[in-house]
């Protein structure tokens, strides 16, 4: 079965095409057939459909051969999320094929545990907790912590300080940060690490080539969702913003206060 994967929640978009099989709730084979990285920052709308067309052409397939659309549905850039989700929905609607809604954080973290077609450790020790953090502006991130496939810090919106507190509370000794939250908040993270006396927790940052979102792991989580029977129709495919619109938040606050 061919899985088309879309990842547009970060600054650079990517698409991947995978051939996967599954049986008894398990992915039994998985192979990436094609992958295209967007070169232009935040030009997802312009490039996404041409990239899908290109990846199919290069693989000698047509869009009608695709069985599942896997899409990273957030968190991340609101606009990016919407481009990915609306493209996935429209393809699903016209082609009458199901979608897999994949967490951008989980897919990002998987890059550290995943080596091609095997879901195994790559760059991290057994103690390591991989923490993808996506910049949510004003000292906030969308983040989570993963130890292999286990979500040890729940994915959600945090201030950077709240996130450091969560690491502290879990008694984590080895953290590998990922995501564009590093680029924005590395010095804040280090200040908090010092101020909160977190000497017992060693912090590392993922290297740039494996730091950000990527469609390959979205395709893999799409295959896992298919194996687990967790696909959905286009009507059920929803964006995962993790935060309400600023105007809505202010309005609710105003209504609450009086």
């Amino acid at each position: 079965m061919y899985i088309l994967a879309i990842e547009t929640t970060g600054a650079f978009a990517s698409v991947a095409l995978a051939n996967a099989e599954w049986k008894n709730s398990k992915v039994t084979s998985f192979e990436i057939l094609g992958h295209i990285d967007g070169n232009d920052k935040f030009s997802h709308l312009q490039n996404l459909t041409p990239q899908i067309q290109q990846i199919l052409e290069e693989s000698g397939l047509s869009i009608g051969d695709v069985s599942v659309i896997a899409v990273s549905h957030g968190p991340g850039s609101f606009t990016g999320i919407r481009i990915g989700v609306s493209t996935a929905r429209a393809l699903s609607q016209v082609l009458n094929i199901p979608c897999a809604a994949v967490s951008s954080l989980e897919a990002m973290a998987l890059r550290q545990f995943w080596d091609g077609d095997r879901e195994e450790s790559r760059d991290v020790s057994e103690e390591s907790v991989v923490c993808p953090i996506i910049d949510a502006r004003r000292s906030q991130v969308y983040g989570g912590g993963f130890k292999a496939a286990e979500e040890v810090i729940p994915c959600g919106p945090y201030t950077v300080e709240e996130f450091m507190d969560a690491i502290l509370a879990k008694g984590i000794t080895e953290v590998l940060f990922m995501g564009d939250g590093i680029d924005k908040y590395q010095s804040l993270i280090e200040d908090l690490h010092r101020d909160k006396q977190m000497e017992s927790c060693n912090i590392r940052y993922a290297d740039a080539p494996v730091r950000y979102q990527d469609a390959d792991t979205v395709a893999y989580l799409g295959a896992k969702a298919a194996a687990a029977g967790k696909l959905c129709g286009f009507e059920q495919l929803k964006p995962n913003y993790m935060r309400m619109a600023e105007a809505e938040r202010k309005l609710k606050e105003k209504q609450k206060n009086g």
Binding site: Q53, T87, L91, V94
Partner: protein, 504 residues
């Protein structure tokens, strides 16, 4: 031949065709060759004449680019001289010309005079000879050709355009809309999901919230548009993408986050179906709403576009050609209405609210300045009058006087419309246009319509405006504009991007 039906042939007819073939020709086609025509040969096209359920004649051709090579024509013995052959050829030519064939050719025995006469009657002429072509007696074959006339081609193109069906999407501001438009001006469906009640709570459109709702709604709106189009076309079934010839979408101007939902969706549809993608300018759409409303309307004319986002005077010289003569230098007219409505505590959206309450007020109660800018300028400025209203309200409040909202609304509206109407009519007269076309949300304003009607009448100008449903943002107008763009050879590739400030 009243009881004879001529229709496209199917594989079910193969055996009866084979029988007639055997009765009529000394070297007939085998049953396998005939079946091959139906099952395998993508170029083959056959029609049969049917009488009481029995096949009594047939003809076939091979479709090669714009040529139709007629392979065989036969009428069952016992049914001849009933003009059945004539009927078959007539249908075959008519149908294939409309589907794009421009040249028809066939071979006929030199001795078969009745057939040659028949073909000549249909405009075939001998253009060559194949010596000894027929194997069983070595007889010559005459090669006859028929070339479609310019009138036939024009008629075929016109009929093709009349059938051309566009699925259109519009999401540039706060309405999520989809429509199916056939032949440019026939609206088969026009579905609009308005977010106006959601944005009322914020006193205006919040881009992030609009974008979120567009995403929530768009696929359902499209589905509903296809369902309603199916019914409108007389079918029990909803339309599918197979019934659609092209996908149209607004790509600017508008809110970028809102535009991109429509665009991403339309591009994915185009990718998934291989149908052409047609990007449409939102204002071009508003103008085209009038083509839907007024089937006789054709360019050239002067257009006034007034809405929450636009105030433009545009000279429309052809379907795809226009020149912006003037626009607003600050607020759009609809924007000024919204802001003044807020100052007067009327709510959102301001246009219809002010229009309604102004009917009860005195338009001469307060003297607001009419801003005409430089002499002969066709531009607008509405920020001054907006401030004027605010200052008036504040000073009245400070003086402890009660504000008569209806009077202020009527006076504000009069000041704005005086300028709009004068500039538009002046522009039409200056550029020698005998038609003025209004478009956009504010063109639904009743006082604007009254004033414009009376000014146009004075100067012998004919006024056009769409019904309210076509004044607001909708996708039918986008489908109509797309039709004329595509007809002129315009379409877009999948790199089409949202352009928030797209110039006209």
């Amino acid at each position: 031949m009243a009881d004879v039906v001529i229709r496209q042939a199917t594989i079910e007819d193969a055996e009866q065709i084979f029988e007639i073939e055997n009765m009529c020709f000394p070297d007939p086609w085998s049953l396998e060759s005939i079946e091959y025509e139906f099952e395998e040969n993508p170029r083959a096209f056959y029609v049969v004449a049917e009488h009481s359920g029995e096949v009594v004649g047939y003809a076939g051709l091979w479709w090669i680019e714009d040529e139709g090579h007629i392979t065989n024509v036969a009428v069952k013995p016992g049914y001849r001289n009933r003009r059945i052959g004539e009927g078959i050829i007539d249908v075959l030519l008519d149908y294939t010309i409309h589907e794009g064939i421009r040249h028809h050719t066939l071979e006929v025995r030199r001795s078969n005079e009745p057939a040659i006469n028949l073909y000549e009657k249909f405009g075939f002429q001998v253009e060559g000879v194949r010596k000894g072509y027929y194997q069983h007696n070595g007889e010559d074959a005459l090669i006859m050709w028929r070339h479609a006339s310019d009138e036939e081609i024009a008629e075929a193109i016109r009929m093709m355009e009349d059938r051309f069906t566009i699925l259109a999407i519009e999401s540039s501001c706060d309405e999520t809309a989809a429509a199916v438009v056939r032949g440019g001006r026939t609206v088969l469906s026009n579905v609009i999901s308005s977010q106006i009640d959601i944005h009322k709570a914020y006193g205006g459109v919040v881009p992030e919230i609009a974008s979120r709702h567009h995403l929530d709604n768009i696929n359902h709106v499209v589905r509903q548009a296809l369902e309603e189009a199916g019914q409108a076309a007389g079918s029990e079934e909803p339309m599918t993408m197979d019934d659609i010839d092209a996908i149209a979408v607004t790509y600017g101007p508008g809110l970028v986050g809102a535009l991109l939902i429509g665009l991403a969706t339309a591009k994915a549809y185009a990718l998934a179906t291989g149908k052409p993608l047609i990007g449409v300018h939102h204002i071009q759409g508003h103008i085209s709403a009038n083509y839907i409303e007024h089937p006789d309307l054709e360019p050239p004319f002067m257009a006034l576009i007034v809405s929450g986002g636009h105030t433009n005077i545009v000279e429309v010289t052809d379907y795809n050609e226009c020149h912006v003569l003037g626009g607003t230098r600050d607020d759009a007219a609809g924007e000024a209405y919204d802001k003044v409505a807020r100052v007067l505590g009327l709510g959102y959206p301001g246009g219809p609210l002010i229009d309604r309450i102004a009917k009860e007020g005195n338009p001469d109660a307060v003297e607001f300045k009419r801003v005409f800018l430089e002499k002969d300028s066709m531009d607008f400025s509405f920020s001054g009058i907006k401030t004027g209203v605010l200052n008036y309200v504040n000073s009245e409040k400070q003086a402890g006087r009660e504000i008569h909202v209806a009077d202020v609304a009527a006076s504000f509206q009069q000041a704005v419309l005086d300028v709009i109407v004068k500039k538009t009519v002046d522009a039409a007269r200056k550029m020698n246009k005998d038609k003025i076309v209004m478009a956009g949300g504010v063109s639904a304003n009743s006082h604007l319509r009254e004033m414009m009607e009376s000014e146009c009448k004075k100067h012998g100008i004919k006024l056009y405006y769409p019904s309210p449903i076509l004044c607001t943002d909708n996708a039918a107008m986008i489908g109509c504009a797309a039709h004329y763009k595509y007809r002129a050879g315009g379409s877009d590739d999948l790199t089409l991007d949202a352009i928030p400030g797209l110039p006209l």
